[in-house]
């Protein structure tokens, strides 16, 4: 098993309390940063570490921080995006539930680096109990002098707040998140201006994922260069992967980036293979919005090289034969799974979560769901496959925010790699989901 930086104390009882966390080396990065480093040095370490945004897009965090405008007399904000709503992704929840102080520590160190004196954790509404855990952690941190005025006797002060959202996927988009945080309807803003220039309340703001912020603490502790040694190429460090689906051991795994996909799925250290001795059919490698890949393409790239769990390797071949690491929502499907049914679920989700602001997404997501419903009802024709392909092409890249793309990509990939399944349903005029039904209900097939 590889090195662990975020979940290394996962076995420690009561690690969610301040005393235990501190006794196991917690808050060392705060001490190191505030007492021995300037904010720019912290940013430099993050740059050197090569840390990339863990929320899905994989944008280099150090670079994002360096874009932050720093005008005189204007407050700056750090906002933690804990609106983890991508289907198949539950790593942030695990981290916050069990290691709330890891996030609080990362927030303090990162806020110091950015010069923010007020920071927010925006958490999705469905995670209300996680918000309570975080609030308890923040109370403990205040009591220990890690938050508030003059942290650890330095002249740096920080207030940290938890804001619970209403439970909308769209509020995970950073500008929609800021709108929601400001108390408005969570509609994405039209960019530019980017949040780094005009974000929360019109002030320069950095929005980072929970895992990204938590990773800042080990980076400061071990140094950016040391952190960059973990992983392969531009995919440095460790990543939390939420493994789900038809595997023997679903759960959250911290991996060193660069583990081969095959090892991740079949090794006992991780997913432990496909359950019930079935064969693997397909994998959605980074949360519902990334393209689904069939077994042969997820284990090996089109060039025949083994695929690794890195940003680059998973994206190898573009969308024709590749996918994305995304948020690390790793969904494995066995041979009994219907890709059509799976796609129907995804299109229903995006239809439900579209904010309705711009026309291609508002109308297109609903249309795709209705066409998919025809496949489930067994009333679809072969021309509906072309129609779906056309609709997704007309949504992708035409919308305000990436939700349109996120809705279009899975449709495109399912048709690209599993067109025969769609054709079969259209030809037979029947959607056969019996196997799926039996397996779900633990029945043996008659």
């Amino acid at each position: 098993m590889g090195k662990k930086l975020l979940l290394h104390n996962d076995h420690v009882p009561n690690i969610h309390t301040y005393e235990v966390y501190r006794a196991h080396g917690g808050y060392a990065s705060v001490e190191k940063a505030l007492k021995t480093m300037t904010p720019d040095q912290v940013t430099d370490e993050v740059k050197k570490s090569g840390l990339r945004g863990r929320g899905g897009a994989g944008f280099p965090t150090g670079l994002k921080w360096s874009f932050l405008a720093k005008p005189e007399g204007v407050p700056r904000y750090l906002v933690c995006n804990a609106d983890e709503s991508e289907p198949g992704t539950f790593k942030d929840r695990y981290l916050m539930e069990r290691h709330p102080h890891a996030l609080v520590e990362g927030m303090i160190t990162s806020s110091y680096a950015l010069g923010a004196h007020t920071s927010y954790i925006y958490i999705r509404g469905e995670y209300f109990y996680v918000a309570r855990i975080l609030e308890q952690a923040i109370r403990e941190a205040y009591a220990a002098g890690m938050l508030g005025k003059n942290i650890l006797g330095t002249n740096y002060s920080l207030d940290l707040y938890v804001q619970v959202g209403g439970g909308a996927y769209i509020c995970g988009e950073e500008t929609a998140l800021l709108e929601s945080l400001e108390g408005k309807r969570g509609n994405p803003r039209i960019k530019p201006p980017f949040p780094a220039v005009a974000g929360l309340y019109g002030c320069p703001t950095v929005v980072n994922n929970v895992e990204t912020i938590a990773a800042v603490a080990p980076i400061v502790n071990m140094g950016g260069e040391e952190y960059a040694k973990i992983g392969i190429g531009k995919s440095t460090g460790t990543k939390l992967i939420s493994a789900s689906g038809h595997i023997n051991k679903p759960g959250v795994y911290e991996i060193e980036l660069g583990v081969p996909v095959e090892e991740f799925i079949y090794s006992e250290a991780y997913c432990g293979g496909i359950r019930n001795g079935k064969k693997m059919k397909a994998v959605v490698a980074g949360g519902s919005s990334v393209p689904i890949l069939p077994t042969e393409l997820i284990l090996k790239t089109a060039k025949g090289e083994p695929r690794l769990m890195t940003y680059e390797s998973l994206a190898d071949g573009g969308f024709q034969t590749g996918t994305m690491l995304g948020s690390g929502g790793f969904i494995v499907m066995d041979e009994d799974t219907s890709v059509v049914k799976n796609l129907f679920t995804f299109t229903r989700f995006y239809h439900h979560e579209s904010c309705g602001q711009c026309s291609p997404c508002r109308e297109g997501t609903g249309w795709m769901e209705k066409v998919m419903q025809k496949f489930i009802d067994g009333t679809a024709n072969e021309s509906d496959i072309d129609l779906l392909w056309d609709i997704q092409g007309k949504i992708e890249g035409k919308t305000i925010c990436p939700l349109g793309d996120a809705a279009a990509w899975p449709v495109a990939a399912a048709i690209r790699h599993f067109k025969q399944e769609f054709i079969d349903i259209a030809k037979q005029k029947k959607f056969n989901d019996v196997k799926h039904y039996y397996r779900l209900n633990n029945l043996t097939e008659a």
Partner: protein, 327 residues
């Protein structure tokens, strides 16, 4: 700053959007708009019909932009090159957007008061397809009264947010907005509040489709049977410059004056709009110039011929051009 749109170059000040630059060049390159409104701040960006292709970002960074951009909210850069009607992919993408706008639109033009001056009609005439590929039930809403003079027919709405911006920017205490999300999002008032302020009528003018209609004019007359006249009066609330729509000797409705992009030049108050519908209330300036391509130009100024104003001459004098937006 120099920008080239469809091969036509123009020098514009910094901060100009691509759409504004295109409109400066002329209607032959200007993209169609549904949600942008020159008099409303932060409008635009929602409908995606004004998308253009940026083939050269700027003189410093000549790379093309990876995706189509909304011209109404993208500022020009020096040396930028933009394709609008000259890019077949872009026109295809725009046809896609128009198709999306139309799939849930009831297409009840024969009974809609907006027909004849509807942005969506023009848009679908220029960029739409002959047949729909949408075979499902279209979205429907109940009609509601928002305020005593305005009818909201949400089924026709394309969620351009213009009326929300009017309420936000012209009045204080906006009581209506968008509720729900996705394709069931709708314009509505807060609980059962009525929109009640002196400038609420402008919502009707800015609505690109027939979702917000004037209850004092509903079903009175097809717009192409009415003839517009520019007129003014002294009003202590607004500019008092309006357009009167005549049928015979009768003023059927009063609207703000629209520019050649069909956007209100100046907003008018409800007193001018709803309460002054007699010729005697107004100083008549003369017939409004109308584009030859507008259906409203089809008939004669019956009974008002006595005014003997040469519409075409006036039109030329005012610099009105052919505003047909077809490529």
């Amino acid at each position: 700053m120099k920008v080239t749109i469809d091969g036509k170059e123009i020098e514009v000040p910094k901060g100009t959007t691509i759409l504004e630059a295109a409109r400066m060049i002329g209607p032959e390159v200007a993209p169609p708009t549904m949600c942008y409104y020159s008099n409303l701040k932060t409008s635009g960006g929602y409908c995606r019909t004004c998308i253009v292709k940026v083939t050269k970002g700027s003189a410093q960074n000549p790379n093309p932009m990876p995706k189509p951009v909304v011209s109404c909210r993208t500022e020009v850069m020096d040396g930028m090159e933009v394709q609008n009607y000259t890019s077949p992919d872009l026109l295809e993408a725009r046809r896609g957007v128009v198709e999306f706008l139309l799939i849930n639109h009831p297409l009840d033009c024969p009974i809609c008061d907006q027909a004849g001056e509807c942005f969506l009609q023009d848009l679908s005439y220029n960029n739409g397809t002959e047949k729909t590929r949408y075979e499902f039930k279209r979205r429907e809403f109940e009609m509601i009264d928002i305020g005593d003079k305005i009818k909201l027919h949400m089924t026709r709405c394309i969620l351009c947010y213009r009326c929300v911006k009017v309420a936000e920017q012209l009045t204080n205490g906006r009581v209506h907005g968008v509720i729900n999300r996705g394709d069931v999002a709708e314009i509505s008032t807060y609980i059962t509040q009525a929109v009640d302020n002196d400038f609420s009528g402008n919502m009707i003018d800015v609505c690109p489709v027939g979702a917000l209609t004037d209850k004092t004019f509903r079903f009175k007359q097809r717009v192409w049977f009415t003839k517009p006249m520019d007129a003014h009066r002294n009003c202590d609330k607004c500019c008092g410059k309006v357009r009167l729509w005549y049928k015979g000797e009768e003023v059927l409705r009063v609207t703000a004056r629209k520019n050649k992009w069909d956007e209100s030049e100046e907003f008018i108050c409800n007193a001018c709009r709803f309460d002054h519908k007699k010729t005697a209330d107004w100083v008549i300036e003369g017939p409004t110039p109308i584009s030859h391509h507008s259906v409203i130009s089809q008939n004669h100024y019956e009974h008002l011929n006595a005014l003997k104003v040469d519409t075409l001459k006036r039109q030329k004098a005012l610099g009105f051009m052919n505003i047909d937006k077809r490529p």
